[in-house]
Symmetry: C2
Subunit: 247 residues, 2 copies
């Protein structure tokens, strides 16, 4: 079992995410993609379409995390500035690349490949392309930074060409135990006790409220599945105990 | 018309948001709450349950933005550390407060108000409470930072007691024009032209792909509604023109 902890940061780029116009779902997709690879997202940011902020944040995240994923801002319009910001973050030039034009030509006829669409072939110097089987305009990898589209279906389509480039780490497993009708405050003290007892396990409790009543989901996360099995057992006993007290 | 630009930053706190277990929806709720008040969200971050990161980021955001909103990490369990992190960000002490206990007592009988639940009455020194009509455990305001619950229904319930504390600014209006069947790349050049022509207007184009085909939504944002009306008119003409070309 590898003990290495591999980390990632995610940047979601676009004014529309901050104005409330668009609900991001990409973070969750990326998290679920990275989980089986043993890569943990440590921080995510939602940034406005501002070149300097994007560039500075890409630089900072590239230094802080093993991998960085960006979504959004690589389309054909004037507010698509992510490629330039990534180039600037690494002090690299950027220009229209033949390999990217070739990808676009599999989709667009010569007449359709106007100046706006050619913008999507501007790639930071030395970056490698990421295949886009949905709409062909490629993403790209610059050092440890993967730059992807913002439209969820297109972003998802790029992940298979990223997977083989990731050197994963220790996989984190989880066990989830539901506690219907239990209040989070009743479980807090025994929960903290269980966490103290098992090294390398982190316990979370996630309350919910529905028309049918309240409840909590306990989630144990850790790298050793046999330890997690023991924790799951204790959590189930705890739920039975708390349910008895409620009667 | 006030010309003042009022900004906000949002911090969503919790490992479960980064692991992909939970889909955040609070950012969008807060954005829609702030829009009519004339407050623009400039950046949002999703942070792990790490005291130092939360504390440093609260400090940074409090300096950079007019208002800061945090969600998550104020429940009764050991991983709820936001109150302590906010106190530390402002170099303030934190202790159990009588006014917060009084709020909890409207919900919990004496026997139910155990040590875990009393944790929810720990408030940074000098902060004022934010009413929680859903589950009573209060949020709190520390200088320009509003600390709210993470559970969406509870967070939403706290907003009415925040609204009267916000000094809003110039309201940003928007006009949305759908372009069914149009490719984003065909619209990019004329779109940039329209944006150049109207000062104070920002134009975005948001492509979508469904089973029924592709399309783009054009969104114009700005502070002057009469200018926006003119832009909307031009966008509608553009859609007609592009649709004609497709025939």
């Amino acid at each position: 079992m590898s003990a290495k902890i591999v980390t990632a940061g995610v940047l979601m780029i676009g004014d529309e995410l901050l104005s409330g116009r668009t609900q991001d779902t990409n973070l969750r997709t990326i998290a679920k993609f990275l989980e089986p690879l043993g890569v943990q997202i440590r921080e995510a940011r939602i940034l406005a379409d501002d070149a300097e902020t994007i560039s500075n944040t890409v630089r900072e995240f590239s230094d802080r995390f093993d991998y960085v994923f960006t979504t959004g801002g690589i389309g054909p319009t004037h507010d698509d500035i992510t490629a330039d910001a990534v180039a600037s973050a690494f002090g690299r030039g950027i220009s229209e690349r033949a390999d990217a034009i070739a990808e676009l030509k599999t989709r667009y006829q010569d007449g359709e490949l106007n100046a706006a669409r050619r913008r999507m072939a501007r790639i930071p110097d030395g970056a490698s392309l990421i295949k886009n089987p949905v709409s062909q305009a490629p993403g790209f990898q610059t050092e440890n930074v993967f730059t992807m589209a913002g439209v969820p279906q297109i972003m998802k389509g790029m992940l298979p060409d990223i997977e083989h480039r990731i050197e994963g780490g220790a996989k984190v497993y989880s066990r989830s135990v539901p506690a219907v009708g239990i209040g989070e405050g009743d479980a807090a003290a025994p929960l903290a006790e269980i966490e103290t007892k098992y090294e390398g396990v982190s316990l979370g409790s996630y309350p919910y409220f529905t028309d049918a009543g309240r409840g909590v989901n306990f989630v144990a996360r850790g790298r050793d599945e046999s330890v997690l099995d023991a924790v799951e057992h204790e959590l189930k006993d705890l739920v039975i105990e708390l349910s008895e007290e409620l009667k």
